[in-house]
């Protein structure tokens, strides 16, 4: 709005020149180069010729001049598109100009868009801290005086929360206040930047910008992102703590598989791309990849050019698809990691360039991965059903950005990259797993023997003494009353239903069968009620009394165990399978070892490769035959079982028959050769993403550094220099301090994209240390911006203040429901569009689909979360207990929770609240968690 007013003012000054109006309001899109709608308004000839809808200007004819009709909003679409309407005065100038025959005294020039020009380092306007010099110049221009420095308590809490995400403890506060020597603040800053907490705090920020999401889908079906992507999160944290350059981080995220193919640590970075994986549609997958890359890293709304030329920026639709071409060959895969052969349990989700292929289905015929196309085509009007096949597109960066990316060079990959199971660790793991399986079968067989023996010698079962406890009579009313809130038909948490004995015995999704007949102490139901299994139930109500526990246990202990004959028959069946399973597993191990030797020889081009291959084939055939026999036997058993069943299930019988036929068919074994150790991928990569990554992090790239610096500034100062953080284009906001932005961007790049150096520079400025508070516009930084803390920082602060925060770093994501009480930092919990810690959701926690700047709402649910959650109530109690011996409880409470001394007014209120009688000390701590200041970064 403001911009339009300023611009309109310009015309008056410029002497009501129609050409100036065209230049400022129209030619950005309608120039010789961009030609939106085919229209160029920079020369008379072009304006008369007009665009796709005919002449824009007909000299002397207002009604016939489309330019005037659209600008006056007499016809659709109203122009300027998305911008402020021309004032009546301006329209008058344009009308008069057309009336005079539309003379072009000089061609209209288009000012180049600031953000698309390379970064030039401006001179610092004055001495002192450069950030302050730039800010002060603007303050002066706007007649503003900066406020003074914040007190040391506020400052310390600010910089702690800002750099580490948790407030300073009492010891740190006292030490800082006492340290009056010069450089005390800088020393704190250095220690915080060196703390591993820094990587966690800023890691979460970058996870916002880079759209981190754990995998999600429908039930167990993975539809978006990938399992084990937490490794990317850990890579972010480690990279930040190790102060890896931002440029290198970007390069690794886009192309580590090409630039460092043997470096498993670096490969984690490609989680940035893996995150966009989408089961059902390759085009949607690539669409998200392009958006994540251009919005987050370049501040460019290239996504708008998917269906048509960009409406505001000089980005053609073709630019969109040529950018897509960088990603066209890439695909996602799961590699084994050391120590685990099952990629479901552990693995590395990473990208690589695949050969073009169709949709992939698994053995069961389920669709598991979309096609990788061989060519990139422009989709006419963005419709994937209308590819322009006449023109395959090669990769290129948008010409409007000046600097062009280099031509991709094909990358030769090492064996470990294209055939990952050739790695020595993977081979050792495969062999170890085959050995472990043999041990496991032996264990099962021995256990079956023991069960059989025990059943043969078991005395006749008798119901334990004591009154008979029935489900309907005693247990059901109890469970319904205490667990019914969550575990009856209306809710059914975890699928567990307490309505019937059968459903209680069957248990829930999480733990399975909840009752072991005759053995209450081994039953999940009892163990979870006793707190032996987490989370203890009832989750939020009082625990069961001893008498109530006794009833539940008695009901279970009175249940008769299965009949000995049944146990014996089951054990015999298990033994019979084991007799076939063991030889098959042993032969499988031998075959595996032979295959390893043969493959190592083949890939290493050893002389005995062929001979070893023959051996491997023989070993595999032998193992295959034994395995087939085992499967035949199992299938026969299943078929017999299905036929024996009281109610014949035709589906089961058919399935068992089919399995038997397959097993018999497999007895012949493979026709030739032997099975490789694992999947093999192309031995080269196109180099496209490397070319893109190098372009993106080149000194002459106009956007990357500006966008990164802007994100960092936003998070330190609570406002961005370019408020539209993902749109640096013409429709975005202009920087409030363009020179400062460019100076910071230049400084950043020239320092080797050193983030810690930049943080240090910003937080040691006088601007950062100013007081905050008060309302009104603060665009010229007359004071510091106070802001609401992010959800994660609020939760982490509660834990930190109570001293319960578990500093363990990294590892698989924690379950946001079952592990909600685990006192680890919030960024380690699962986050997807479907799942997030409830406490975080209430405080505008990260939205993994788009979170380039956090929302800061203030809603009543936040008050309820802070007053009613177990988190704050429990931790208030813990803090109160820690302060039990305090001689000045009120003073110590404020000091611990808010990192500052209590004020006189607060002390008076608190003393009267604590009063006499009721012990309100925990409640006072709890109230301090609800103090506005606790959730505010002041």
């Amino acid at each position: 709005m403001l911009r339009a007013v300023v611009v309109a003012g310009l015309f008056v000054v410029a002497g009501q020149d129609a050409l100036k109006i065209l230049e400022a309001r129209c030619a950005g899109c309608h120039n010789a180069k961009t030609q939106q709608g085919g229209l160029d308004l920079t020369t008379r000839e072009a304006a008369l010729r007009g665009g796709g809808r005919g002449a824009a200007v007909v000299p002397g004819d207002l009604a016939g001049s489309l330019l005037y009709q659209l600008a006056a909003h007499k016809r659709e679409p109203a122009m300027p598109l998305g911008g402020a309407r021309l004032s009546e005065a301006e329209l008058g100038v344009v009308a008069a100009w057309i009336g005079k025959g539309a003379p072009f005294t000089a061609p209209v020039t288009v000012a180049p868009h600031w953000a698309f020009q390379p970064v030039r380092r401006p001179a610092v306007p004055g001495g002192g801290h450069p950030v302050d010099a730039f800010l002060e110049a603007e303050r002066k221009r706007n007649g503003l005086v900066a406020v003074g420095e914040a007190d040391r308590y506020t400052l310390l809490r600010r910089v702690y929360l800002d750099l580490t995400g948790v407030p300073p403890g009492p010891v740190a506060v006292r030490a800082f206040v006492a340290d009056t020597a010069p450089g005390a603040y800088e020393r704190v800053v250095d220690s915080l930047l060196a703390s591993p907490r820094y990587g966690e705090r800023w890691g979460r920020h970058w996870m916002d910008v880079w759209r981190y999401s754990d995998w999600y889908g429908s039930g167990a079906e993975i539809r978006n992102s990938q399992p084990h992507i937490w490794k990317w999160r850990d890579w972010i944290i480690e990279s930040l703590n190790g102060n890896k350059g931002y440029d290198r981080m970007v390069r690794e995220m886009l192309a580590a598989d090409e630039m460092a193919p043997g470096d498993e640590g670096a490969l984690r970075a490609t989680g940035f791309l893996v995150r966009n994986w989408f089961l059902f549609n390759r085009n949607v997958w690539l669409q998200d990849t392009i958006e994540g890359t251009t919005a987050g890293l370049l501040g460019l709304t290239l996504k708008c050019a998917r269906c048509h030329d960009h409406k505001y920026d000089p980005l053609a639709q073709e630019d969109y698809y040529r950018f897509r071409a960088y990603f066209e060959p890439h695909d996602v895969r799961l590699d084994r990691v050391a120590g685990e052969v099952d990629t479901k349990k552990a693995g590395l989700a990473r990208v690589y360039d695949a050969a073009p292929r169709g949709d992939v289905q698994n053995a069961a015929g389920t669709f598991i991965n979309p096609a990788v196309f061989g060519e990139t085509y422009l989709f006419v009007r963005g419709d994937e059903r209308a590819p322009d096949k006449a023109r395959p597109l090669t990769p290129a960066t948008p010409p409007a950005l000046g600097l062009a990316a280099g031509v991709p060079r094909v990358v030769e990959l090492p064996v470990s990259a294209y055939y990952p199971d050739m790695r020595a660790t993977a081979q050792a793991d495969l062999v170890a797993a085959a050995r472990a399986r043999i041990v496991s079968i032996e264990g099962d067989v021995a256990a079956a023997r023991e069960r059989m023996e025990a059943a043969r010698t078991a005395p006749k079962w008798e119901r334990p003494a004591g009154a008979l406890v029935t489900f309907e009579g005693a247990v059901k009313p109890l469970l319904e009353a205490r667990c019914g809130g969550c575990h009856l038909a209306r809710n059914l948490k975890s699928g567990f239903n307490v309505a019937s004995a059968k459903s209680v015995i069957a248990g829930g999704k999480k733990h399975g069968a909840a009752v072991v007949a005759g053995k209450s102490s081994e039953s999940v139901l009892v163990r979870i009620l006793r707190g032996e299994l987490s989370p203890r139930m009832p989750l939020n109500g009082p625990l069961l009394t001893a008498a109530e526990m006794g009833l539940v246990a008695a009901w279970i202990d009175q249940m008769p165990p299965p009949e000995p004959a049944v146990v014996i028959a089951e054990a015999e069946a298990r033994l019979a399978v084991g007799e076939r399973e063991l030889p098959a597993a042993r032969a499988g191990l031998a075959a595996l070892e032979a295959r390893v030797l043969a493959e190592n020889a083949r890939v290493g081009k050893a002389a005995d490769a062929e001979a070893l291959g023959v051996t491997a084939r023989a070993a595999e055939r032998r193992a295959g035959a034994l395995l087939a026999e085992e499967n035949v036997f199992r299938a026969q058993q299943r078929l017999a079982e299905a036929l024996r069943a009281e109610k014949l299930d035709e589906g089961k019988v058919t399935a068992a028959r089919r399995a038997l036929e397959q097993a018999v068919g497999a007895l012949d074994g493979p026709k030739e050769g032997y099975t490789p150790l694992g999947p093999q991928y192309p031995a080269t990569s196109t180099g496209r993403r490397t070319a893109l990554a190098e372009w993106m992090t080149a000194r002459e790239n106009p956007l990357t550094a500006r966008v990164a610096v802007n994100h960092i500034w936003l998070r330190h100062f609570g406002a961005a220099l370019v408020p539209s953080v993902i749109d640096f284009g013409r429709n975005g906001k202009r920087p409030t301090h363009p020179l400062l932005l460019d100076w910071l961007a230049a400084e950043f790049m020239e320092s080797g994209w050193d983030m810690k150096k930049l943080h240090r520079l910003l937080v040691t400025s006088a601007a950062y240390k100013m007081q905050s508070g008060g309302g009104g516009d603060n665009r010229w930084y007359g004071r510091m911006n106070a802001r609401r803390l992010e959800a994660e920082a609020i939760r982490d602060s509660v834990l930190a203040v109570a001293g319960t925060l578990d500093g363990t770093m990294g590892g698989p994501e924690l379950n946001e429901e079952s592990q909600a009480d685990v006192p680890r930092r919030s960024l380690y919990f699962r986050l997807t569009p479907d799942s997030q810690l409830t406490f975080l959701k209430v405080f505008d926690g990260a939205d993994p689909t788009a979170c380039f700047a956090r929302t800061e709402s203030i809603v009543p649910q936040q008050a309820l979360a802070l007053t009613n959650s177990k988190l704050t109530l429990e931790h208030a109690r813990i803090v109160a207990d820690r302060l039990a011996g305090s001689r000045d409880f009120v003073g110590d409470a404020f000091f611990r929770v808010l990192s500052r001394p209590v004020t006189a007014a607060e002390r008076a209120l608190s003393d009267s609240y604590l009063g006499a009688g009721t012990d309100r000390r925990a409640l006072l701590i709890h109230a301090l968690f609800n103090r506005n200041e606790f959730v505010t970064l002041r």
Binding site: G82, Y216, S218, R223, F280, N281, R282, V284, D359, F367, P370, G485, A489, R490, N491, N540, P542, A719, K733, T736, G773, G774, G775, R779, A786, P833, D834, S835, T838, V842, T849, A853, T855, E856, S857, I858, V859, P860, Q861, Q862, A863, L864, A865, T867, N868, S869, K870, L873, T903, E906, L909, Y913, T918, L923, H926, A927, N930, R931, N932, E933
Partner: protein, 465 residues
Amino acid sequence: MRRRTLLANLGMGVTGMALSAQGVPGGLHHTAKAKHVIWIFLEGGLSHLESFDPKPELNKWAGKTIAETPHRGVLDAPFTKQNVVEFTASERKLMTTVLPLQVGFQKRGQSGLEISDWWPHVAGVADELAVVRSVWTTDNDHAAQLQFHTGRHIFQGYYPSVGSWVHYGLGSLNENLPSFVVLGPPSPPHLGGAGTYGGNYLGPQHSGVHLASDPARPLTYASPEMAMGAEEQKRQFEFIGALNALDDVSDESVRARIKSYELAFRMQAAVPEVFRHESESEVTRKLYGLEQENTRAFGQDLLSARRLVEQGVRFVQVFHGYRTDGNGWDAHTELKKNHTRLCGEVDGPIAGLIRDLKQRGLLDETLIVIGTEFGRTPGVEGAREGRDHHPFGFSVVMAGGGLKRGVAHGETDALGFHAVVDRHYVTDIHATVLWQLGLDSRKLNVAGQQRLDQDYGAPIRAIIA
């Protein structure tokens, strides 16, 4: 620029706040006919054929392929390929063997509106209904649930839901309750989830608040998760208020924080009250089917919806279908079994709601919408008398709120395949709702957010009284 601060309102109508929920600047766009909306959504896809758009031709051609009937043209109709955006990589098959109607139907009431025999109670209020028989959408999988509420295919991402636009446009009439409430089992995340009642770029304060029809636990954090007496809590809220009042109250965010505690405290008391139905008369309880096992849960939700509306709540979105399983109305097999069971759950309570609102004089100011993500195929799917998803033409039923009564509008073709007469994309339903509330969807815009024609929709004038 100041960073965005969303002040305490969450539909809570914080009066006197800079960004309060007072509705669109400058007031309504035109005189409102209705004040509230009860938006019922049947998850899984209600068969339009066996409910509000019966097609006798299906009985006539039962067992034949569509190509063998005189209506073979429907397969080549331009709508078949033009609109649908496939959810999965492969194209969804069109079911082409005609399945006869699984239920009879009759002309009902004075209006003679045709309604199937699975809706006996709703048939009894046929003269109150306005049925739109020509709705279409583009997603042929269940994420059409998201599309039905936002107007966008899930591939295009998330946009403000219809309820959030209402909230954005109207603000609140009650300070103690959220003004946009969601009841019942919501759409699961991969089908739209909270996006079906999300505020998206309008801000989280315009999102619906999901409440459970359970006075003990209607909302997360609605009561202390560890024992604390009511008197003690009141005392603590006062203490918190006094502490926060020591801060610089010239800062709007400080004022908003203080206000949010006042609202939270009142909300804690008011929200559970909505779900205490003991005070309702025997007759009312019966009307909503609270006495019967199969209608109780949904009946409770609709009764709660009425109680919310009585207290000034603007938009109540009630989901039905996924309470007992993840299939809801998705009758791929044995449609008869599925729909008789589910119709049995909703028919009585919906009719009860309409009668109850009418007798209380609330029906004129309350617009009821009964929607679903798509209809079901005229052709049979598989061997077990089911119907597949059908985005090409289906029905949405409305009542009250100043609409015509006892009318059907729009038509599908003779087989109920394509909407052919007066076709309406789902956002026309949104525009109609907004229009009755005094809002012009075309005028609902937010700086920096480009809306498309398909987002605005157009009010269905033909059913407006």
